[in-house]
Amino acid sequence: MSNLIVETINVTKTYNLGKPNEVTAVKDASLQINAGSLVVLKGPSGSGKTTLLSLIGCQTKPTRGEVIILGKKVSKLPEKFMNLHKRNHIGFIFQHFQLIAGMSVLDNIVLPLIPEGISPKERSKRADQLLEQFDLAHRRQFKVSHLSGGEQQRVAIARALINNAGILLADEPSAHLDSRLTSDFLDHVKQLKRSGHTILITSHDPIIYQHPAVDQVFEIKDGQMIS
């Protein structure tokens, strides 16, 4: 395994530890993902796959175990440094897209660049490239709330890519799309894979995990890895 990019070692995530409503969402999960591969994490809803994706995506810290991204043990880092690693290497596409409704397409896409101190000019330059790539140029100044579901997802992908992250994570991307839009999405994913991105998708949609471009499928059930 020379080009390992993401690795989890026995990660466990327990919410509300020690309280009556304690719940273990992920238990002793270990997986390895190679650079440049397209991987699907499948499992029914409530299986813990979104929590595992959060752990890999540096959105939360594990209760036990290690998460290693590009050789760095991120799980032990203080939030600030974990965040830095996240900003530099990981792009996230959320299930409900999670765009800010009152803002324009452009403003949404460049959001991750604001705290980096990138000038507005440089921001739009980078964004325009992505708007072109995802066929959103004509929607540049539209409020995101006026866009269709497919367009919103493309905005979400563009936002995930604006930091030039090498790793892309997508949470249930087909949940709000019809089959035509899902296949559009998969086209984009294939393209991104060709350009060298490592992609991890959670899904219980066969259109996605049975897709020929997928290199590897992990299955999770009740918080535990099955395969």
Binding site: N16, L17, K61, P62, T63, R64, S75, K76, L77, P78, E79, K80, F81
Partner: protein, 339 residues
């Protein structure tokens, strides 16, 4: 007790400061006692989040303290209008036994908050937060001073009495009189100026001779900066009272370190004090950073910041000397003689 808008402003500002500092204290205690870097319990995650709260609190404290320092000086100046005998801020401050104590405490607090924030900034750049316990212990030690400050302010406000005649800079800084003020002013220019300039020269020597890249005892030179800058600050204040002020007012008997902050002297004192405080704060912090040796990653960052601070302090000092001796120079060129 005097009911006065300026007193009211000071009380509001200090109450806000103390309130927020109390919030910081509680959280600092929790962090200090509960911090466990290796823990993955949610409690540790929460403590980590609390560090942001405490940082914000201290930023607020520093910002408010700077504002209060200026406001206090101006309030003292303004209150002189209503205190019989008081012609300027000195009269107000010396009309109660708390005035100057409060001012001194505020200056010390300002430097302490500044140093704390610099160390905090450095520590936050290292993944393991190596100084976390020391930092929060220091913060808890600073809290009593904030309390004392507030108590002193109230004592000061209650003690101000418009019916008691007070003395003013004319007599406080009168060389014939007794007391600290008089001996400060009495320090003749012939004594204090050489002292002041030898400290300035020592600082420059220390920076450029002992502290060169190839010098052997570099750490000693850096450490020396801390006491040297304190000495610089104190002598600078004496120079302001006994020498600079006489040339600003162009009067031998008027020796006041406050009056020239007002409009009638074109706010001359504002840049003067700004340079003095910036130079001293960065200078002494630069020296103090020398004590940070471990871990190596932190020491490295500390060295980088130390260099920047040293540069800022040097320019600040030069600016102070230039601004401070400008009135003297213009007076001498205009009249060809000394006061």
């Amino acid at each position: 007790m005097m009911l006065d808008p300026w007193i009211l402003g000071l009380i509001i500002g200090h109450s806000a400061l103390l309130l927020i500092f109390s919030l910081g204290l509680i959280n600092a205690w929790q962090i200090f006692s509960g911090w466990d870097y290796n823990s993955t319990a949610e409690k540790q995650f929460l403590l980590e989040k609390k560090t942001y709260l405490v940082s914000t609190v201290m930023n607020f404290a520093l910002f408010t303290q700077i504002l209060m320092l200026f406001l206090f000086g101006m309030a003292a100046d303004e209150l002189a209008n209503v205190l019989p005998g008081a012609m300027c801020a000195v009269g107000t401050l010396s009309s109660t036994s708390y005035g100057f104590a409060l001012l001194d405490l505020k200056i010390v607090s300002f430097f302490a908050y500044f140093i704390w924030l610099v160390v905090n900034y450095l520590d936050n750049q290292i993944e393991t937060y190596p100084l976390v316990r020391k930092k929060y212990l220091a913060l808890m030690l600073l809290y009593p001073f904030a309390v004392v400050e507030t108590v002193l302010l109230f004592a000061f406000a209650f003690d101000l009495d418009p019916s008691v005649i007070t003395s003013c800079c004319g007599s406080v800084y009168n060389e014939g009189a007794e007391g600290l003020g008089a001996s400060l002013a009495g320090a003749s220019a012939g004594f204090i100026l050489p002292l002041f300039f030898s400290i300035v020269i020592l600082l420059l020597l220390n920076r450029f001779v002992f502290n060169r890249r190839d010098a052997g005892k570099k750490w000693l030179g850096n450490l020396l900066e801390f006491p040297l800058w304190i000495a610089f600050f104190i002598t600078a204040i004496v120079v302001i009272i006994s020498f600079i002020s006489t040339y600003v007012y162009e009067m031998l008997s008027h020796k006041c370190p406050f009056c020239f902050m007002g409009a009638e002297y074109h706010y001359y004192g504002v840049p003067l004090y700004l340079c003095l405080f910036v130079a001293t704060a960065t200078g002494m912090t630069g020296g103090l950073l020398e004590t940070i040796k471990r871990p190596e990653t932190l020491a490295e960052k500390a060295r980088l910041l130390q260099k920047k601070m040293n540069t800022v302090s040097l320019w600040g000092m030069l600016a102070f000397v230039v601004i401070g001796f400008l009135p003297f120079a213009t007076y001498y060129i205009k009249t060809g003689r000394l006061i």
